[in-house]
């Protein structure tokens, strides 16, 4: 390991990430037909995902007290944050596989942090298609917001914090595979499940669920509280007025927790020796 001061260390990590990621981008581009087919499929998956919500609105006018475009706003913000994190996080979900194959041992010997190597491994540029869909849904919803500089700031903070929050969720729940290598699907309940739950207004869920998504796993700070502010609506569930501005705080706390969990996982790791 290179012993360096934190800023230099972070710069080294970022540079390594970009280098490895570019390698995989070039590799994917070697099969252009496959690349574009996957990109279009990814776009189509998320497109039909929103079509489903739109189809629900052919039977109702309001959903949990929200209209279609208001839901599209919630959907757009969580989708952009989630899909960006998903692209950045790469194959961290496949820790178990790397443990079994012994690839993790190889990674440990290299002078780049293991987490950086895992996240940059098999970097998938094609996920841009899914991010684009989130952007499109958001753009369709954006005109209903009465934009002010303050609202724009809340949006930017929400998106940046949202990417960080989902990134942490991916990492935290993948760490479980240091203990049970073939339980990768466990993480899906929190990552993909988290994104799915945030596509809906929190008013349709029991209070306990909303509390858990605020204080335990702070996904409500990705889009729910910020979007209420963008829409100029008071929280039907009566949360404090400063919550829409608290997204960076929630992200920061979660980053700290994630660092602890990740270090614990790595420390627990014993090579399979095969």
């Amino acid at each position: 390991m290179v012993e360096q001061r934190p800023p230099a260390y972070l710069a080294h990590a970022a540079r390594s990430y970009v280098q490895i990621a570019l390698l995989w981008v070039r590799a994917a581009m070697a099969y252009p037909v496959s690349f574009w087919m996957m990109t279009v499929s990814g776009l189509l998956i998320t497109f039909l995902d929103f079509v489903t919500i739109w189809l629900m609105f052919t039977h109702i006018d309001a959903y949990g007290g929200f209209r279609l475009r208001e839901i599209a706003l919630l959907y757009g913000v969580t989708s952009i944050a989630f899909r960006t994190a998903d692209m950045l996080v790469g194959s961290v979900e496949k820790i178990g596989q790397k443990v079994r194959s012994g690839d993790l041992d190889t990674m440990m010997t290299k002078p780049v942090p293991v987490l950086v190597q895992l996240c940059a491994d098999r970097f998938e540029l094609r996920r841009l298609g899914q991010i684009a869909q989130g952007v499109a849904v958001f753009a369709w919803a954006a005109p209903i917001v009465d934009w002010t500089p303050q609202r724009l700031l809340v949006l930017v903070l929400a998106l940046v914090s949202g990417v960080a929050i989902y990134f942490c969720v991916f990492v935290i729940f993948s760490t479980i595979q240091f203990w049970t290598t073939d339980a990768s699907e466990f993480a899906n309940a929190f990552t993909y499940g988290g994104n799915t739950i945030m596509q809906y207004p929190m008013t349709i869920f029991p209070r306990e669920v909303v509390r858990s998504l605020t204080y335990l796993l702070p996904l409500a700070f990705v889009n729910w509280y910020p979007c209420l502010f963008l829409l100029g609506r008071a929280d039907p569930l009566g949360s404090p007025g400063w919550f829409p501005f608290a997204s960076p705080l929630a992200a920061l706390v979660l980053v700290g927790v994630t660092a602890l969990v990740w270090r614990q996982g790595l420390r627990h790791y014993r090579s399979t020796g095969s």
């Binding site: 189509l44 998956i45 489903t52 189809l55 699907e185």
Partner: protein, 273 residues
């Protein structure tokens, strides 16, 4: 050569049993999957309850039926390998690395071999990732129980769902004979299967036109048909008609698999020189 199913049934039973055992070794994966299916079942149940609170008869379902539909979908998605997986993934990989040549010259039907293996896998997933989330759903939300005839029809319908899904996955995996890599087609298939099976929204909630098309596609066999039989929407003669459509799709698709396999066999021979 890959002729019709001319091998003794005991051979296929042995293949299915091995396949069942293969999947049963991944206990942690099964438990993690049951947990994830249950979480999605809970999220979707609340999502549906909010819809049916606004419109209590949407799609002709009651709220309790809609929630039951959610859990049937979660229970079946692994059994029918909705997002692929199962023996057809092995097939695609064996085509890619050339091992398929060995399969083609075994004195056993290739189609029969892979179907038996997939049925063994499906049974394991039905008994674990099918039954367990359903129990969770019943405890948390109270599901609608099927009538006795509906329960029998449901089981028959699920078996046919597995066969239909297998045949479609087999066809998409076979594209590897020509494309070498079947990843792209597989992703495309999972997109269509997710939307047109009724997993994200019961097909009866689709607008006219799109609904008729969706109900006629083989993907309706995956979840929509078994669920409607469970819920008693297809009863009596109507149930027989629904199952009949599944049988028709199974026969047509398996015949297509046999044709594709024949064409592919010639191609493999030509490549071999």
């Amino acid at each position: 050569m890959s002729g019709p199913l001319h091998s003794p049934p005991s051979l296929y039973a042995a293949i299915a049993t091995r396949s069942f055992r293969r999947y049963s070794t991944y206990t942690a994966a099964t438990l993690a999957g049951i947990f994830t299916n249950s979480v999605f079942g809970i999220i979707l149940s609340f999502a549906y309850l909010a819809l049916w609170e606004q419109n209590p008869t949407a799609g002709g379902y009651g709220a309790d039926q809609a929630v039951t539909f959610v859990w049937i979908g979660q229970a079946l998605l692994m059994t029918i390998a909705l997002w692929s997986g199962g023996s057809t993934d092995d097939l695609a990989e064996r085509i890619r690395n050339g091992d398929i040549a060995v399969d083609l010259y075994r004195p056993v039907s290739v189609l029969g071999w892979y179907l038996a293996a997939d049925l063994g896998r499906a049974l394991y997933h039905f008994l674990t990732r099918g039954v367990a989330p359903t129990v969770v759903g019943a405890l948390l939300f109270g599901l609608v129980a099927p009538a006795p005839a509906g329960a029998v029809g449901f089981l028959v319908s699920v078996c046919l769902a597995v066969v239909v899904s297998f045949a479609i996955r087999f066809l998409f995996a076979s594209s590897a004979f020509w494309l070498l890599d079947a990843t792209g087609p597989r992703v495309l298939l999972s997109v269509m299967a997710t939307f047109f099976s009724g997993l994200t929204l019961p097909l009866n909630l689709f607008p006219d036109g799109l609904r008729q098309v969706a109900l006629g596609l083989p993907f309706a066999s995956y979840i929509q048909t078994p669920a409607d039989i469970w819920l008693g929407r297809h009863a009596g003669l109507d149930m027989l008609a629904a199952i009949g459509l599944q049988v028709a799709w199974a026969i047509v698709l398996l015949a297509m698999c046999a044709l594709v396999l024949r064409a592919a066999t010639r191609k493999v021979v030509v490549q071999g020189g």
